[in-house]
């Protein structure tokens, strides 16, 4: 019925208040969906980081900690494990492959990972995808490095570029391994995982730059890059290693064997289980965030209620006029219901627009700062349910002033009260 044009005109007449109300709802909706999206994408991003690995082995600590420093390059190892233990596990009859990790150095804020060529054959991410080279090849010599996609892109590195590794993992390092520069031999394709932010070198390369650094600084007997090549570069310790098994059946058996290993305190974890443990830890914070953002939506809707409610009194005249030309009290109810529904709907639409804008802005920042890759996708069914809930909430909230207006117009009739 064309009387609903009246609502539109009436809203248009109150542009400023209407706009502010819509913005308040939109921001709350954006926050609500944003938290939900971040939560989901962070999980997806983490879950995509490693696949096909049956066990992660490191020095005994917490399983979440091991998972974080080994795969996500977050935090540091408390201790190293001996090469001997690594050799022992890798020779186990159930083990198909292993990938050793040696962490602790960095290049301009990006972590350096010492590993071997097995990394490029066996490491899997996402849906069991192999690493691929965008340019060049895996490292061959001791002083060669393979860059993750983001490292190359952000620092503008090309093949053949000479880079200097720094001791420690801080953004700014005061002790550089400047005497032994590395040459970029290959650049990997983007994976959307921490691999993109990693500089890969051989274990021998890590060993070579640390000759004379046994105490944590260049205090021992230092050698030149060429001299180092002639020395025994077999590492004595590594940080962690990934294990792929011939049969999944053996997973728990081997895990138990490693955890009970007598040579040194080791910890073997199942990546999936450790991830679940991590989610368990984060669930409290997650739920708190979601609850808070839910309340922000409620606040937005209460703001709308306040605006409509406080406008009711001055609109009694308008209602009396409408009644005099034949509007039923029911019409008055509908008009106000429509008003709040339109405001809520506009808020939802505007909020979704803000969400995508926000995600587009936050995506590169999050990837760079936190290492979480957020994929921008269409709204999920959960999102749509949330939006429907907000809209329904808007309708319900709108029913309050609508009912009051209905009562007022019944009582006032055509009497113009000012």
């Amino acid at each position: 019925m064309s009387i609903y044009m009246l609502t539109l005109r009436s809203l248009a007449n109150r542009k400023t208040t209407v706009l502010l109300t819509v913005i308040a709802i939109a921001i709350s909706v954006m926050l609500f969906l944003g938290v939900e999206t971040l939560r989901r994408e962070a999980k997806a991003s983490f879950a995509n980081t490693v696949s096909g690995t049956d066990l992660i082995v490191g020095a005994r600590s917490g399983s979440v900690q091991l998972l974080l420093y080994s795969v996500f390059r977050i935090g540091n190892a408390t201790n190293n494990i001996s090469w001997e233990s690594y050799e022992k596990v890798s020779k186990h009859r159930q083990v198909a492959w292993t990938i050793p990790f040696s962490l602790g150095d960095s290049h301009r804020g990006y972590r350096v990972l010492g590993t071997n060529l097995d990394y490029f054959t066996h490491f899997r991410y996402g849906n069991k995808r192999n690493l691929e080279f965008a340019e060049g090849n895996a490292f061959d010599g001791v002083y060669e490095a393979v860059l993750g996609a983001e490292v190359a892109k952000k620092l503008g590195y090309q093949l053949g570029q000479s880079i200097i590794l720094s001791h420690g993992t801080g953004k700014v390092s005061f002790s550089d391994h400047s005497d032994k520069p590395f040459v970029v031999s290959g650049i990997l394709k983007s994976t959307g995982t921490p691999v993109d932010r990693t500089v890969h070198v051989s274990l021998e390369g890590i060993e070579a730059i640390h000759i004379g650094w046994e105490t944590g600084g260049p205090t021992g007997k230092l050698v030149t890059a060429e001299e180092a090549l002639a020395m025994d570069l077999q590492p004595e310790v590594i940080t962690a290693f990934l294990v792929g098994l011939k049969s999944k059946m053996a997973t728990f058996q081997l895990q138990r064997a490693i955890n009970n290993y007598r040579g040194e305190p080791l910890l073997a974890i199942l990546p999936g289980v450790a991830l679940q443990e991590l989610w368990g830890l984060l669930a409290v914070a997650e739920n708190a965030l979601l609850t808070i953002s839910g309340f922000v939506v409620v606040t937005g809707l209460i703001g709308m209620l306040t605006v409509i409610w406080s406008g009711l009194n001055e609109r009694r005249r308008e209602m009396a006029i409408l009644r005099s030309v034949g509007a039923r009290p029911r019409h008055i109810f509908y008009l106000l219901m429509l008003e709040s529904t339109l405001l809520a709907a506009a808020g939802v639409l505007f909020g979704v627009a803000l969400l995508y804008l926000g995600l587009a802005v936050a995506q590169p920042i999050l990837e760079q700062q936190v290492g979480i890759f957020i994929q921008i996708r269409l709204l999920s069914s959960t999102d749509l349910y949330l939006l429907a809930a907000v809209l329904l909430g808007g309708c319900l909230v709108g029913a309050l002033p609508a009912y009051r207006a209905y009562r007022l117009s019944l009582a006032d009739g055509m009497t113009i009260r000012i």
Partner: protein
């Protein structure tokens, strides 16, 4: 066929045909000790111009609400165009009002967020009957423009300006156009001139009468100002017909 259509045709021929007929009507507000209005008989013939005189607080507004079907009497009948509206359901009373009665109030008659023309055509949004009547020869906006021009307002002049820019006198004329659009049989004007100065008051009355006559409507004009009553066919003093009033004022 609705009773309204036959009455319109009979207007000039038969003045005795009552358009408003109140019999034994009594109304009390909820929780009130005694009746606010008690009218034994009030008959208004079709085409009449009635001056309904009453001091403020005498129940004028209540009577208008009863005539408009917003309120329902506890006793008696209120017939308009032969239809006892107190027997109708509230939604039917609302559409009956939309179809057959045009109102003009004291002031603040217009919806500030509607354009001049939309204010005039407002009743046609609620009454298909009036919409049909208004659009018999021209478009709805054309009819609104015609009415406004007859009331000496140029709609083009106010096309892009809010109606709140209009002077009080202009606003009252817009309200008359709104009351008249779609030719309702009954026009009820509640103190429409009280916000106008003396000159504007008589000019307004002249225009009102001319238009009411042209659309062959019946006019009930409510005012406390006796100086206007010589312009009307008949004066009804609310104090004379309301039996509840005398007792009420004695308290």
């Amino acid at each position: 066929m609705l009773p309204g259509s036959s009455v319109t045709q009979a207007t000039s021929a038969d003045l005795a045909e009552p358009i408003v007929n109140l019999q034994g009507m009594g109304f009390a507000w909820p929780n009130a000790v005694r009746d606010t209005l008690q009218i034994e008989s009030l008959t208004i013939a079709s085409g009449e111009r009635i001056f309904l005189q009453g001091a403020s607080g005498s129940g004028k507004t209540t009577l208008l609400s009863l005539l408009g079907g917003v309120l329902v009497p506890q006793r008696g009948t209120i017939s308009i165009l032969g239809q006892d509206i107190s027997q109708l359901k509230s939604s039917k009373r609302d559409s009956f009002r939309a179809d057959h009665i045009g109102f003009v109030f004291q002031m603040f008659n217009l919806l500030p967020y509607l354009s001049l023309l939309d204010n005039v055509t407002l009743p046609c949004r609620f009454s298909r009957k009036r919409h049909q009547k208004a659009t018999q020869q021209v478009t709805l906006d054309g009819e609104a423009t015609r009415l406004l021009e007859q009331l000496q307002l140029d709609p083009k002049q106010f096309k892009n300006r809010p109606v709140t820019d209009l002077s009080v006198g202009q606003q009252q004329r817009v309200a008359v156009a709104r009351a008249l659009i779609g030719q309702p049989e009954l026009i009820i004007a509640d103190e429409p001139t009280s916000a106008l100065d003396a000159d504007a008051r008589f000019a307004f009355l002249d225009l009102l009468f001319k238009e009411v006559e042209e659309s062959r409507a019946t006019l009930i004009f409510v005012s406390h100002d006796p100086s206007l009553r010589t312009h009307f066919h008949r004066t009804v003093k609310l104090a004379d017909i309301n039996k509840a009033e005398s007792r009420g004022s004695a308290v």
